[in-house]
């Protein structure tokens, strides 16, 4: 904590001068980068369209109320499909993520030099490719419908689940593993008595957390034909049936908030 001497009085300052200057310089560079990026975006924007956005918004809002509640009858089936896509997709992801996580964790991987980088690459590629892109490819392969959605969500979630799970595996208490090994337990026994009980709460938490995210993601898969409520949303937007669109948006909000509540309750109960 630097104290400056000025006019014979001690003045407290939060930081030393050099550090203060460095921080100031950092801010300067960050601001410059931001302004530069902003300028490039602004060059590519037709400002005329942006400026009349409020007119468009008012127009759209007017067309969207009141929501057409009678349309709800046709939404139950897609809604059920959406929830199924999220749930089954999460299950698929968990089944596939467990071996990947064990291969990626430093303390359980069969080979650090060969298996671990492969597992890490699987994790990163599954995480970096959005579920919509997965769905785009899968619809071409397995045909449109719920099945493509389930697989897309599954493939997309492997990375997330495996990453969190392998971090949990790396953080386990090694002494317990050592104690189980000392009783003469075999490899699978060490796994099921030494490691699995320790990561079980994390595993349950991760699965519910991902399920919650997947509900949100599965609402849009229909846009590329992979089933669920997105299909209806796309149809309504294309046919300019804005009162139906607003009802679908309300349904999505309610589902997402409900799933978030469920997931928070379950995670609270586990931890």
């Amino acid at each position: 904590m630097p104290v400056l001497q000025a006019d014979g009085r001690k003045i407290w300052q939060r930081r030393e001068r050099g550090k203060q200057l460095a921080i100031w310089g950092g801010w300067l560079i960050a601001t410059a980068i931001f302004v530069y990026c902003w300028q490039l975006i602004s060059e590519k924007t037709t400002w005329f369209f942006v400026l009349d956005a409020h007119v468009q918004a008012a127009d759209l809002a007017e067309r969207m109320v009141p929501p057409k509640f009678s349309y709800m009858e046709q939404l139950w089936q897609p809604l059920w499909d959406t929830i199924n896509i999220a749930t089954l997709g999460t299950l698929l992801a968990l089944v596939l993520a467990v071996p990947v996580a064990f291969c990626a964790a430093r303390n359980t991987t069969p080979s650090r030099a060969f298996v671990r980088p492969v597992a890490l690459f699987i994790i990163v590629s599954s995480r970096s490719i959005n579920s919509l892109i997965w769905a785009l490819m899968l619809v071409a392969i397995v045909g449109p419908g719920v099945f493509a959605g389930v697989i897309a969500i599954g493939l997309r979630s492997i990375g997330f689940c495996a990453k969190l799970l392998y971090e949990a595996i790396e953080e386990i208490d090694e002494t317990q593993v050592e104690a189980v090994t000392a009783t003469g337990a075999s490899g699978p026994q060490v796994l099921s008595y030494g490691i699995v009980p320790q990561i079980m709460p994390a595993f349950a938490g991760i699965s519910v957390f991902r399920w919650d995210i997947n509900i949100r993601e599965s609402t849009v898969l229909g846009l590329v034909g992979a089933g669920g409520i997105g299909l209806q949303l796309n149809a309504s937007i294309l046919s300019l049936a804005w009162t139906e669109v607003s009802l679908i948006l309300i349904v999505i909000i309610c589902t997402v908030i409900l799933s978030e509540w469920v997931s928070a309750k379950v995670r609270h109960a586990i931890i």
């Binding site: 980068i33 931001f34 990026c37 902003w38 490039l40 975006i41 602004s42 590519k44 924007t45 037709t46 369209f49 942006v50 956005a53 468009q56 918004a57 759209l60 059920w80 499909d81 199924n84 749930t87 089954l88 990163v124 590629s125 995480r127 970096s128 490719i129 959005n130 919509l132 892109i133 785009l136 490819m137 071409a140 392969i141 397995v142 045909g143 419908g145 719920v146 099945f147 389930v150 008595y193 009980p197 079980m200 349950a204 949100r216 993601e217 609402t219 849009v220 846009l223 590329v224 949303l233 937007i237 948006l249 999505i252 909000i253 997402v256 908030i257």
Partner: protein, 268 residues
């Protein structure tokens, strides 16, 4: 000597869910749900069987990735995505700070709290794509719509985590600073901010990473960036270029992730 029969007691692994009733209820519920879910899911296995060889062709069409032919378009798309990511992360975080403060229960009065929580819930409920569809309608095609989309999504994510972090802070420090007679802003600056800052910097970098990944899809509905290039590549069946784009996205995400990991370690 009379024989004493000891009851044979074997150690059993304690179950993960302690209450037996809950365990059974969950098990049966899960079984019923799965039966229903699989029952209503229509899988056209004929189509799948037909599609698999096609799928192999499809995947084979991705090799070898072609970086050269469409390099100019790819580079343009990547740059656009990066600008969108930078600006939307900065603007989104800047906007989410007041909203996050308002959504913290220990800071804001009740009406403000409910209002801010409402904003967060709405912006979090909609997937980026749905937001993008509407913003493209409002602002026209191009990176500006993508920028607005990602900013709104950032507000939902960052504001919620900021609010939760503030709610979890140590009230002792806050009280101590307040006791010195600090004004509200001083109190915020010296009591609240230092407690949440390290985690928030980490989350900001994480959101940067997410925004880059999302910028790859807002382009599909017209929001600009690499997603537009990717979509065009798919539409024109130039799968080699699409593969190159996907590989570049993966590489950049990896790079950002490693950098943010180092920065986070350095900050905390």
């Amino acid at each position: 000597m009379a024989e004493i029969s000891l009851p044979s007691r074997r150690w059993k692994k304690p179950p993960f869910i302690k209450s037996a009733r809950l365990r059974w209820a969950l098990g049966i519920g899960a079984a019923v749900y799965l039966a229903l879910a699989f029952g209503t899911m229509e899988v056209n296995w004929g189509r799948v069987a037909e599609g698999l060889p096609r799928g192999i062709n499809f995947v084979a069409a991705f090799f070898p990735p072609d970086f050269v032919t469409r390099w100019d378009e790819i580079a343009d798309g990547i740059y656009e995505s990066l600008w969108m990511t930078v600006t939307s992360t900065v603007v989104g975080i800047a906007l989410s700070i007041p909203i996050g403060l308002g959504a913290a229960r220990n800071l804001a009065p009740r009406p403000v709290y409910l209002f801010c929580r409402g904003i967060l819930a709405v912006s979090r409920s909609f997937q980026e794509i749905i937001l993008a569809i509407f913003f493209v309608k409002l602002f026209g095609f191009g990176p500006f719509a993508g920028f607005v989309t990602l900013s709104v999504a950032t507000i939902g994510f960052y504001g919620k985590l900021l609010a939760e972090d503030i709610e979890d802070m140590d009230p002792g420090q806050a009280e101590a600073v307040r006791a010195t007679g600090a004004s509200w802003f001083q109190w915020l600056n010296y009591a609240v901010q230092p407690q949440v800052m390290p985690r928030m910097i980490g989350l900001g970098l994480y959101r940067f990473d997410i925004n880059f990944r999302e910028s790859a899809v807002v382009g599909i509905v017209g929001g600009g960036g690499i997603g537009a290039t990717l979509n065009t590549a798919f539409d024109r069946y130039e799968f080699e270029s699409a593969a190159a784009i996907l590989l570049i996205i993966i590489a950049i995400v990896m790079a950002v992730e490693y950098t943010s990991g180092y920065v986070r370690k350095w900050v905390q």
